[in-house]
Structure formats: C-alpha cells, structure tokens
Symmetry: C2
Subunit: 412 residues, 2 copies
C-alpha cells in the first residue's frame, strides 16, 4: 500500500508527462509504475522514468467527521457506501501474488477527494467476502443495510465482488418494494492496489449515479474501451459476460440506463423516479434450483436435483427446449406441485414454447416459460416470489414484469 | 409447400420490383408474400402487390442422377449432405402454426439449382430429429456418416437443428483424428417454408465452404445483419448466443474462419489443410456432467449430481470460482478419482485459479482448470478424452489444444 493511504495524507504533485505539465495526486507507486489521479478523475499510469515530478506536498485527506473516519467530504449530496468485500476492497499479497479479501476500504478516501465539496460520503464496512460466497441469506442482510442507508442518504452504493454481483443486485431490486433513491452496485475487476485498477473510476461514477434522481437498482462498471466512461446497467438485466475485462458487465437486450464520464451523468433511458419512502420485503425462499440442460442430462439427474426444491429454473436450448426423455418426469414433478421454469442458455433472446412441437409438449407438461428474463435473474426472482406471494400465484407473478426484468421489446 | 417442390418443377419468372426488371425463381408464396431467389443467391421477400410478373415458365428441377433423386447437379465439386433433422428440414403445420420435424429435404434442390454446373451434391436423409434430442450416441452415428461421405466427396455438410449444433459439431471435430476435406454443419433459424427462412443462403454457403481446401469442422450460419453474408465458425469455439436471430451463432474469442457472400468464399484465418485420409475414433464416454454454479448450490446438490459420473464440468463464476462450502466435497470427489473441471459461466474470457484465494484452494482440492475453453465444448471434449486416452492422462490431454478449442490468445 502506498504511504498516502496509511497516513491518510495525500501526495499532491505537479509533474511533467509527455511534455505537458499537470497537477494530480500520486496514488500508487508499484513495480516502477506510477498511478496519478488527475482532477478530472482520469488516472495516468506511467513508468517512473517518464514522469518528472516538479513539486510535491503532503496534504491531509479530506476531513473525517467521526472518530472512525467513516465520513469523507462535506458537500450537500449525501451517499452511503455499504462495503461487502470483493476485489474492490481486496489486497494483493505481493509475496504470493494472490488476491485476498480485505476490510480496508480507506482507499476510497483517495477516490472521493476531488468530490469533497459536492458530496458527503459515509463508509460502512459491513461484510468482507469474495462474492462466490454470497448466499440468499446474505442478500437479505444487504437489503436491510440498504434500507438503513436510504434513511440517511440520498442514495446508497453497495461495493461487491463482481462474480455474483448480478445475482445480489437483482435480489436487492426485487426485495425493494419502494426505494427513496438510487441503489448502485459497484465492483472492480482489478484490486485497488494494482496500477491498472478500475476501482477508482467505477466508484467515482457510482457516487454520481447515487446522487441522481433514479429510483432503480443499477450496476456501475466500465463501459467498452474508454478509460473513463462508465455504464449504469439495470440490475435485473445485467450479466457478467467476461471473466477478466473491466467492461465485463452487459445488460442483455437493453441499453444502459445511464452513462458517466468526466464528472457528469447522462441519462440514457427513462428510469423510475425515486419513491417517497423505502419499503422492503426482506424474505427470500432459497429452495430454488438452476439447472443447465445438456445432451446427456438424464431424467434421474433432473429429478434428484429437483428433489428438495420448490422451483427449478431450467436453462434450456434455443427457444426453451429440453430432450423428449425429460418431458414425462417434468409432468410428474409439476403434478406434485413443483414449479419447472424454462429459460434459454443462449442468454440473449426470448423463450417461445409455441413454435416447435417440443415446446408445446413442455407447456402441456406444466412448464412455465420466462420469455426474455435472463436465467440467473429468473432464479433470483423465483426466491422472491415464493417467499412473498401466494404459491398459487407463482406463475402469474413470475410472468409479470416487476423490476424491469422482462423486456417488452429487446433493443439489442 | 409451394408447387415447385412437390412437382420438382421450378417457377422461373421475369418480374419488375421497385422499378427494376429482374429474373429469378419463385420459391414461396405465403400470406401474400413472395420469396424470389435471384441468380446471385440473394432472396427478395416482397408483398405480392409490389411485384409485377412479366413472364413465367415452369422448368424441370436439375436432373436427378439416381432413381431416388438423391443427386443434384453435375459439376466437378462433389459434396455430400447428411441430413439429421432440425428446423432446416422441418415444416410448419399451418393449421396450428407449430413447426415439426420433416424428413423432406427435397427443398434443397431449389437451393442447389444455380450451382448445378459447379457442384454435384448428394443428399442423404439419415435422421430426423429436433436437436434437443441429440445424444452422444447419435454424435457417434454422425461421425460415421461423415467418414462415409468424405470417402466419396470432397467435403461433407451436416444439416442439423441449431439448438445443440455446437455440441454435435464439436463432438464430430474431436472424433475426427484426420479429415480428407471440410465438414460443415448448417442449420436454420426459420423453416424453409417460411418466407424469411435463412435455410437457402446458409446451405448455399455451406456447399461452397464444403468445396474449399479446409481441413476443419465448421458451422455455416448467417453473419450479422447482412442478408447474404455467411460466417464459417470453428465448431470448437462456437456457441448459440441468441434464441431466434438468424445470426445466433458466434465464435467465442475468435474471428470466423471464413466468410461467404455472392458466390465466393473468403478465408479469414489460416485453417488446417485437409489430411490425406479420414480417420475417426468413434468412441465417447457419456458419463460426463455439466453443472452451473449458483449461490444456493449445496454440497449435496453437487455430490448427488456427480455420483454416477466420471467427470463433471463446473461452470463457475468469474475466473472459475465456486463457494468455499463446495471445496471440501470437491476434494473428496477428486480423491476418489473423479475429474472436477472448472470453466466460467461468463462464457468469454479465461479461467485463472491463481489470482484469488478461492481459486488456489480449488486447485489444491484437485480441480482442473480449462482456461478459455467454452464450457459446453469442455463437456464434449471430456467425453472424447475419457473414451480414447488413458485415464491418468485426462488432465494433460484436457489442457492440450486438440482441435482449436483452446485459444493461445483471445482475439475478441
């Protein structure tokens, strides 16, 4: 970790790089590479030899307002950051090279610095896990923290590992019946102590999104190749589509809700306005499964897996198909009251069980088709619907658009 | 079905459309829409009122050379089409609107018409199923038919349902140790008796690809928005990414091998040259599973599903992760000799179990990571490797690039 984080002093520098003299904050110095944050929010990463430092001074990090240093800035825009772990609050162990979770979110201070006059940001370190270990029980905790945050802030940011961020953000979206402000999930694909980290820009954008008049749950991550353009994706259409790129997140079949670059937010599509209050339904029924159809999947595989579950989301092929040999067992399961729900492993496009003979047989066997709802989101939604609605209404509610998860028209 | 198919007569017309006089073959007339095939191979679909037919004559379809009408054309390029079913040889039941499989592949004749001087195409109706019903046993039949076809033709086309076409094409690719010519899988997203069918152009392109000097297995399907541009995708990198678009197939992380438009093939990347002979290993071990990690997946779910399998491909999160609670059970399974193989549900990008603490624990528990191999392809490959190599070499062979399934560098 660089000095400025441990001491909470910022290394302000005036420097010459590629012939131009600029001012900024030296954030990292690692393996001969300097990371310098400019006032614009843009980071320069350059070899030490290529940067001539003309002047350097240590400045106090923005004034903390509580003894725990949990407040940063003193602007009118109030934002709460609920930190839950993940790469965005991880550290690299430079002896082994492994990335491990860390509950140190003080690095966030260096991000907020330039925004201190516009925002007051409260940091809450609530959990500290890599997101592959997130569970439905933990999603319920998060929506409760979000509700507390919305009581005292305009908007709430949840920092989270990217691996399962779409699952968690969707669960929070479903459990929020009303929300008085934006709820913005943010992660990063490289740890903040890597020179190429995307954490800083992602969070900076999240702070701006969390201050906008948005009544939705979104995901704030890098957009395409641009260094400083960030997308806000609707949680219930989002999916991690690449294991390592910083622009890993896409929204399926829908344009981003908003973009951020260079200090300003551009709303790309109409979003729900914030509600007058925040109301949550903090119940989920986790007896839901998600199964990927494949050519050797046997009736026994499907029935054994479904045994202790109330609903199983199938990721079928194409328009929502499964082999004929599974239709009998599916009919048996739906007769016993299990919900068998069909999505498509294509990811994009919609199911349509009325086109092919297989689809019609599946419908006749009691399968519920999810249209263009993304399979992972259908899985999360089923947990919410089972816990909060009459079981007899399961099919009707699953097919009703609740939080933008079902598109009337696919744009992409 | 239109008259020309039943009688094997072609309705040649001279017509005026949008002010231009052209010649072509009237392929369909349905719901007031005419589909006219031009000599270029391009189809015009237009309302009946917008087309003024100046002259019409019935012509014999190209001469059949056997009593079964299985040969079309008499050109020097010899191609065998192995028809297995799917939308490409399906029919719409216009009373119910449902699409059902059909073993009528005579419509292919109308596609080949313009190519009769260049090619001799032999049609073989081998199977007649929607591809959600394909199984590893059927993949073995297909590679045997392919071998027979390569004995008598330069190249072989396999027409197949699109739902599981990537699985089948990859299996055929692995089982073909040597191939004396191209093997081209082709499907369509709309049945040939729909005015908007993509079947004709896809097959026309497949015939050209099957005549090229390519020693690989590929998939010939529409490319992007263009009406007449077709991509040839490497089977072992292909994936159906949209449930209904005609450009549903993408190759993951790699550019197409070749393109076809307007009668010519453009090779986009170096491909393997055809071998001197065709050699197949027609064995697969189907005791392989494919399981999608999700936040409520329990150790019991995983262990029960894996019970009767020699290898299980996990579609993990991000760089190839699974929850901590699964690591103990995974260690137990690998100790008992089961192969647990990690891929990523992100689809794009590579696994890397050396970055995060979770990944290192998974490696230590005996997990084999598949890098950038697409999960479904890793699943098919495992069946091939289990059946044809020493079990002790499983890990080594799975991590060796055999048929282009493992990219040295991701291009996309």
């Amino acid at each position: 970790m660089s000095d400025n984080r441990e001491s909470l002093k910022l290394r302000k520098i005036r420097f010459v790089y590629k012939g131009a003299e600029q001012e900024g904050t030296l954030i990292h110095e690692n393996s001969g590479l300097l990371t310098i944050k400019l006032k614009s929010g843009y980071n320069i990463v350059a070899e030490k030899g290529a940067v001539e430092i003309k002047e350097e001074s240590l400045e106090e990090a923005p004034q903390a307002r509580s003894s725990k240093d949990t407040f940063i800035g003193s602007g009118p825009g109030k934002v709460t950051i609920v930190a839950t772990g993940g790469t965005i609050s991880s550290r690299v162990d430079y002896s082994t090279g492994a990335v491990t979770p860390s509950n140190d979110i003080s690095f966030l201070k260096s991000t907020v610095t330039d925004l201190e006059r516009r925002f007051t940001v409260e940091l809450e370190s609530r959990d500290n896990i890599l997101s592959e270990n997130m569970t439905p029980e933990k999603w319920v905790n998060i929506v409760r923290w979000v509700k507390e945050g919305l009581k005292k802030s305009h908007g709430v940011i949840v920092s989270h590992g990217t691996d399962t961020m779409s699952y968690t953000a969707s669960a929070v979206s479903f459990m929020l019946e009303k929300q008085s402000g934006p709820v913005i999930f943010v992660g990063s694909q490289r740890s903040p102590d890597r020179p190429s980290s995307d954490a800083f820009t992602n969070i900076e954008a999240a702070i701006h999104f969390a201050s906008a008049e948005i009544g939705d749950v979104g995901i704030s991550m890098h957009s395409g190749n641009s260094d400083n353009k960030i997308s806000l994706l609707r949680a219930t259409r989002s999916r991690k589509m690449h294991s390592s790129r910083r622009d890993a997140f896409h929204s399926i079949g829908e344009e981003p809700m908003a973009f951020y670059s260079d200090g300003s937010v551009v709303i790309n599509r109409l979003s729900k306005r914030p509600d007058d209050e925040t109301v949550i339904n903090d119940r989920l029924d986790s007896s839901v499964g998600l199964m990927y159809f494949h050519p050797s999947l046997s009736p026994e595989d499907l029935m054994n897996y479904s045994e202790n579950k109330k609903a199983v989301i199938l990721m079928g092929t194409g328009l929502g198909h499964a082999a004929d040999r599974l239709i009998g067992p599916i009919r048996e399961m739906t007769r016993e009251g299990k919900q068998i729900v069909m999505t498509t492993q294509c990811i994009s496009g919609t199911t349509n069980l009325n086109v092919y003979s297989t689809g019609r047989k599946l419908l006749d066997a009691g399968v519920l088709e999810m249209g263009n709802v993304v399979p992972e989101i259908a899985y999360v939604k089923a947990m919410y619907v089972l816990a909060n609605y009459d079981f007899n209404d399961f099919g009707k509610i699953m097919k009703t658009n609740l939080r933008g998860e079902l598109l009337t028209r696919e744009e992409l």
